[in-house]
Symmetry: C2
Subunit: 415 residues, 2 copies
């Protein structure tokens, strides 16, 4: 019997305990070891829990118990999860986590400590919830050069966009529906502003390119500015708007990494990833496009990924898995202003249509007008060929100067 501990008895933590208990015999059969839960750490009391005797409020109980070999850190947040994880790894205990914030901000350091103490630090649940992505990337696709990863990595914003696209619901209404259904927090900033997706693409990029891409290196835009007009123009253009976390290796070996809303064509495999589902596309030089799809969050999907990592640790108690990335100062990241991509732009002007079109075609490359039914008077939209963000911003400033107001601009993806 190998003893484990669970730190944090919230949604995911209680799911981890549930999955470990309910699948006890099949887990033992698959790992060739029984896995017990010796401690559950939480500052709260759970008087009705059947696991009363396992609860502790003292981290030291877990740290100092040599019987505990694997710990699931499902507390969330950086502190004290970081300090706890570090101490556990220094004692040679393996740690598994769903804590994307911690992995994204401290991954390189924690993986290094794990390596020095012959322990494992695994985090399959930190990206994609129950969708397998970390292990396939690091193992199954290991013989590939990964050219690009692009994913719908945040279920909350995908739910909101789906409601806007399918039911013509406003952003605000869709957000409050998401909150009522428990998909969005009362303070939804981390989701709707893109930080959550930013942490996840940070983790995937670090894993694939072997250097820690910190979240602050990722250009991050959320979906709060997306309007139903944009959604309607996207449909006329032949696509949908999705919040995409993307990393591409450029020809100069620098990384173009971003989280932002993007127009994607209807025929893309990501276009049909709706509601709270996640979809992650991995473009490899040998495999071509591989897509992973499933529930990116939720108690049991996330918990099952945590438990799979616990099982993997138990199978590798005395052998480390090869999993690390170096620290990185951000010099491999292409500044956002220098990145190049086609985009959609929506404009408003009291100038005549001919004047607007002339201005547009003189300033923007190969601008094709997008026409939609019921557009407001004086409103225009165009799909424009690729240019750097810096050049785009100059051109859009010149448009503004000549009496054309820029209402929105959205990247067009090649997925």
């Amino acid at each position: 019997m190998v003893q484990a501990a669970v730190m944090g008895y919230g949604v995911v933590g209680s799911g981890v305990v549930e999955v470990l208990m309910e699948h006890q015999s099949s887990i033992a059969r698959r790992t060739k070891e029984e896995i017990g839960i010796k401690y559950i750490l939480d500052i709260r009391d759970f008087p009705d829990s059947p696991f009363q005797e396992k609860f502790t409020k003292s981290f030291e109980d877990i740290l100092n118990d040599d019987e505990v070999r694997v710990v699931a850190e499902v507390m969330g947040g950086v502190h004290p999860a970081y300090e706890f994880t570090r101490q556990l790894l220094e004692r040679g205990k393996s740690v598994v986590t769903s804590n994307k914030e911690l992995v994204a901000t401290k991954g390189a350091e924690l993986l290094k400590i794990a390596k020095e103490h012959n322990a494992n630090y695994l985090f399959e649940a930190s990206v994609g919830g129950g969708v397998p992505i970390i292990r396939p990337l690091s193992q199954c696709l290991a013989a590939n050069d990964v050219i690009e990863i692009a994913g719908i990595l945040n279920g909350t914003t995908n739910f909101i966009l789906t409601k806007m696209i399918r039911e013509n619901m406003s952003f605000e209404d869709a957000l409050s529906m998401a909150q009522q259904l428990g998909y969005a927090e009362r303070n939804p900033a981390a989701d709707v502003e893109g930080q959550d997706a930013g942490r996840k693409i940070s983790i995937l990029a670090s894993l694939v390119y072997g250097k820690h891409v910190y979240p602050q290196y990722v250009h991050t835009e959320g979906i709060t500015k997306i309007t139903l007009e944009d959604v309607a123009y996207a449909a006329s253009w032949g696509g949908v708007i999705k919040l995409i976390g993307q990393v591409k290796r450029l020809d100069d070996d620098m990384l173009d990494i971003t989280v932002e809303p993007m127009l994607i064509e209807k025929s893309s495999q990501l276009a049909n990833v709706d509601d709270v589902f996640n979809g992650i596309l991995v473009r490899g030089d040998s495999t071509g496009d591989v897509v992973f799809y499933g529930k990116g969050a939720g108690k049991l999907p996330t918990a099952s990924a945590v438990v799979a990592d616990i099982m993997d640790c138990v199978k590798h108690l005395n052998k480390r898995k090869y999993f690390d990335w170096a620290d990185c100062d951000g010099s491999i990241i292409k500044p956002y202003e220098e990145t190049v991509f086609p985009f959609y732009v929506r404009l408003q002007s009291s100038l005549s249509k001919q004047e607007v079109t002339e201005k547009i075609t003189s300033l923007l490359l190969n601008a094709r007008e997008i026409v939609r039914a019921n557009a407001a008077d004086n409103e225009y939209a165009f799909a424009v060929d690729e240019m750097t963000v810096a050049d785009r911003e100059k051109a859009l400033a010149a448009l503004t100067d000549s009496g054309i107001r820029v209402l929105s601009k959205i990247r067009i993806a090649d997925l």
Copy 2:
């Protein structure tokens, strides 16, 4: 440096050599070991190959060379691949393969031999080509009870069906196009009759349920009887026809395993898996539906999966991965006649429409007519609620007796 050998220098074998050579440095970085190719076994001569000095026609060269620790068997077919693999494993060499026929027919035995000799037998490339599925199923989803797996597992038939659905091309024309494009063999039976998909669902079922489900236990139907009329009715019903390999665990713990064409709803994640792509849906009790999508065949995708297995073997030279399933006499398989599912039926009769409808509703449960434009006179189609295959056959025989000809019947999937 760890030495490997490649047996078979056909499409996949030459791809394995190419991927290993082209990614040499990144592979070495990831496995912490350089991987060399010491031998390439093939009975043919390749006078123009740059790897001249590696070719051998003698299997014994590989078997007797203690330096060779990992062998890629990409010869295909059961003999002599089986004998070679057995001998290699008995010498403690690990073997990786893309040979689905061998894994499906001899997997239990070869895994047992591997275990006895502390070697690995890995076969990620045998299902889904470059799409990761074996490892995610055995590791990432290990904390789940897998309730069902359903997949588009054969790219050739999916290409043919896509042409029939999208371009109204006949089966024969689509097949000869597939042959011209190199997607189908000159003798296409293994693909179009469903055996290839049957071997793959055998492997997935064996892996997940821990008992060897031999291909002969799998009810197997191909797509040769599918007509453009069926395709059109499927569209009117709101779906598409796909060749699905499926295994479900029933309430009595028996397995319903089959390969057959199925009607699936347009909204299913598998409905948009087109052309030569594969898509595999895994329904877990904790994760819900997870879908894997990508190129299921082809030189480089398949080769990259083989190379990923080689890398995994190199990382586990002295530690076996937990991977085995027991032999099985087929008693866990629910006989096809006793399986239960809804279905579509297309009929022809010179009886009046009212008479046909009366017969149908008296014999079949909750039959809803499917209407389509341009249907032939005297042709009818219905979607019918679930009944056992035995009951269905009885009812259809009674229809035939009363002057209603059954033109086709296709399972309706719940995906």
